[in-house]
Amino acid sequence: MKSRHKKLLLVAIAVIALGVIAALVLNAFRSNLVFFFSPTQVVKGEAPRDRSFRVGGLVEKGSLVREKDGVTAHFRVTDTMQTISVDYTGLLPDLFKEGKGVVAEGRLTDSGVFVATQVLAKHDENYMPPEAASALEQAQKAQKTLVPPPESK
């Protein structure tokens, strides 16, 4: 009898421990997910204001401006339909280039400027970050299928 009690106790401890651990892992998982949005989605207001997210597309040609301090940069990210402004302080990655793909992680300010904490371009010259590629693809699809937006704007 006694050894059976012990075994039960052991199983109970293991189950409770696993439950606690699973809850902890899932909670950490949920609160640390970083979602991706295309510039179009951001402009439509689909992106959250209260947590950080990723935005990707092409660095618009001629949009990169560096400040005098040498480490603060402003540029615009476009999916060819919509464009958002990004501020970043820090060194940009080697393969960051105007007209090339980029993914930035950070928060959207009330003024609509995206303040990036991290800017990613990938390791390979010909390579497009998958998120940036998908933003462009979505924009192209939207342009083909939807009614074109009024020209007057």
């Binding site: 651990i21 991706f36 992680e105 990938k122």
Partner: protein, 641 residues
């Protein structure tokens, strides 16, 4: 001619691998000694032909044979010879060939160091490894042949990715693969035991040194990858929770659980089915890691191609290997038996806790790595899971794991006495707590995580000292296994100090520097003397000069570079680091600004090398325990528990 020879060798190797698996497995099933005896010669011949194929590919790279497609895509005539050699495994096809070559190497090692094993066991182990080899050779010949010709031949190659043009790339992939593929031996032993139904303490004793060897290689391989990322990516980080890193961490976590669980199976005959399950798991995760990294599912420097046929093949291969072995496990595990009982407080229960924690950690990594892929595959949106998730999960999981390192090795098998453990360890624990609370005050700001890290590291070191002292006083003689374990645990403590210190106290500055500007970081003054143009063999670079001094005394001069590779036009940051025992000074060039000024990245990284020293100590501990005398016993047949 040479590439065709390589191609032909691969086909012969496939035929031999088929022979090596079918005849011995059938022979073991029908108890036919002649068929079983084919295992060793077939495996050795297979090794020979895979080695010839590998040599042919390496030769094509070394002589710049630009009629071979793989060479054109991954090499360049002005590439230094050493990188032409490493470019052999710089591609998807080449890395598969390296994987197969290393599998053949491990099989060769099994044929050489298995004379003390029963013949049917050897036949089954080599047979299973032959089956794995068949899969890889087929994969290579059907979808990823490294010897494809390009007609007409190209004038020159398109160069190797600059990130891979580094001395670290000479040894990092082979060592990492030695680890990954090494688990195939543990896997083959597990399957052999399931097929034969003979799963006892002697089985665990045979399997243990192989598993520990693979684990040591994997530890070393991961350590090299981490160090490479640190100096080569120019970001100064030592672990990014990048999916490719996670792909190597998962088999490591399960492999660590496996070597601990094997200890229980060998010493006590318990955890048998569980051990087999872990052996299958460790190798399956190694294969999954290959799938994730090599198929282009994950996009990073490691993935070479996005060819759906390859992905499909690997997926099918994974399904056959994992599904097949789990099916076998499901049918046979119940016959394995339960083994000895143990009390709630015993070494078995502590090791069980160790296994649960390690597997949970692996599960957490798996979730964070695969969930974004699933969402993406199902078109449910793109998400990423970053370092905050992994950090917040790992700290609470690793903390009890590290506390267990102190208690576990001292607890008795079967039933441990709590008062006895408390009596031996209470002073050590008290001292660790006091020092951990006070020491961070002398380091500057007091931080709870620093105290926790120091507590865990000290606790491990003190408990090792108590354990070793107890053994010496008790008259225990030399035991490679015992001291190897303690060395590995000591390595964990060293790595914990490194992680704690660098996470809490590192300093980073990204700053514009004009010629003649100085920046002071943690007592080190960096003087920027400007940048000059220099020419490398296959790149042009702007090389910055930073003179570092401390209190007016010169420390070192660092030359970080911003390179542009001529063939690919790819810009690349080559960092310059002054390594030290208690701190690294890390510099990298950003971009040229007006008037000779540059944006520059400067880091002060306290104790960062301890992370890698710790990992090396762990691997050495593993290597040491393999030399234990009882693994070399020549007794044939089944020894008692």
């Amino acid at each position: 001619m040479i590439p065709e020879l390589g191609n032909f060798s691969l086909m012969l190797a496939l035929m031999l691998a088929l022979t090596q698996s079918i005849l011995p497995l059938a022979g073991a099933a029908r108890n036919n000694a002649a068929w079983m005896s084919v295992a060793r010669p077939a495996a050795r011949a297979q090794f020979l032909f895979v080695a010839i194929a590998f040599g042919c590919l390496a030769y094509s790279f070394l002589v710049n044979d630009f009629s071979v497609l793989n060479v054109v895509q991954h090499s360049f005539s002005k590439l230094p010879p050493i990188y032409r050699f490493t470019a052999t495994w710089g591609s998807h096809e080449g890395s598969l060939l390296l994987w197969t070559f290393i599998l053949a190497l491990w099989t060769l090692a099994v044929t050489l160091f298995s004379r003390h094993l029963p013949d049917d066991m050897v036949a089954r182990v080599i047979g299973v490894m032959g089956l794995v080899s068949c899969g890889l050779l087929l994969f290579m010949l059907i979808t990823s042949n490294p010897f494809l010709r390009l007609l007409p031949a190209a004038m020159d190659g398109s160069d190797l990715n600059p990130l891979l043009q580094d001395p670290g790339m000479v040894i990092h992939p082979p060592i990492l693969y030695m680890g990954y593929v090494g688990f195939s031996v543990a896997f083959a032993f597990a399957l052999a035991a399931l097929i034969s139904g003979k799963l006892d303490a002697s089985w665990a004793r045979w399997s243990r040194p192989w598993t520990t060897a693979a684990w040591s290689f994997l530890t070393l391989g991961i350590m090299m990858g981490s160090w490479w990322a640190y100096y080569e990516l120019g970001w100064g980080g030592w672990w990014f929770w990048d999916p490719t890193e996670n792909a190597s961490l998962m088999p490591w976590l399960v492999g660590t659980a496996l070597i601990h669980s094997l200890a229980v199976t060998e010493k006590r005959g318990t955890f048998k089915a569980w051990t087999v399950f872990l052996a299958i798991g460790a190798f399956s995760l190694s294969l999954l890691g290959t799938f994730l990294v090599r198929s282009g599912v994950l996009s990073s420097v490691h993935s070479f191609a996005t060819d759906p046929a390859r992905g499909l093949f690997i997926l099918a291969f994974l399904a056959v290997v994992i599904g097949g072995s789990l099916l076998l496990f499901a049918f046979r595990a119940s016959q394995v038996g339960l083994g000895g009982r143990f009390a709630l407080v015993s070494r078995e229960s502590f090791l069980m806790a160790n296994n649960i924690l390690l597997l949970t950690a692996c599960g957490a990594v798996l979730l964070g790595t695969l969930y974004p892929l699933f969402l993406d595959a199902l078109n449910l949106g793109k998400i990423s899971v970053g370092p905050p998730y992994f950090n917040s999960v790992f700290v609470p999981l690793v903390t009890p794991l590290l506390l267990l390192i102190g208690v576990g090795p001292m607890a008795r098998w079967k039933q441990a006495s709590v008062p006895e453990l408390a009596a031996r360890l209470k002073w050590g624990f008290g001292a660790s707590v006091v020092v951990a609370l006070l020491l961070p005050l002398t380091l500057g700001a007091w931080k709870p995580m620093v105290s926790l890290g120091i507590l865990l590291a000290l606790w491990i070191v003190i408990s090792i000292a108590i354990n070793v002292q107890g053994r010496l006083r008790g008259g225990g003689g030399w035991s490679a296994n015992f001291y190897g374990m303690n060395l590995a645990h000591f390595g964990v403590a060293v790595a914990v100090i490194g992680v704690t210190m660098v996470s809490a106290y590192e300093t980073e500055r990204n700053v514009r520097m004009n010629v003649g500007d100085t920046i002071t970081l943690k007592g080190y003054t960096f003087l920027f003397k400007g940048a000059q143009d220099v020419d490398g063999p296959n790149y042009k670079a702007a090389r910055g000069t930073l003179e570092v001094s401390s209190n007016g005394k010169p420390v070192t001069t660092l030359y970080p570079e911003k390179r542009t590779y001529t063939a690919s036009g790819m810009p690349f940051t080559e960092s310059a680091i002054d390594y030290g025992f208690t701190r690294d000074l890390y510099t990298a060039m950003g971009e040229p600004l007006d008037g000779g000024a540059w944006s520059v990245r400067l880091f002060h990284k306290p104790f960062v090398v301890w992370i890698w020293i710790g990992a090396v100590l762990m691997a050495l501990g593993g290597a040491m325990s393999i030399t234990d005398r009882r693994y070399r016993s020549r007794k044939k047949g089944r020894a008692g528990a």
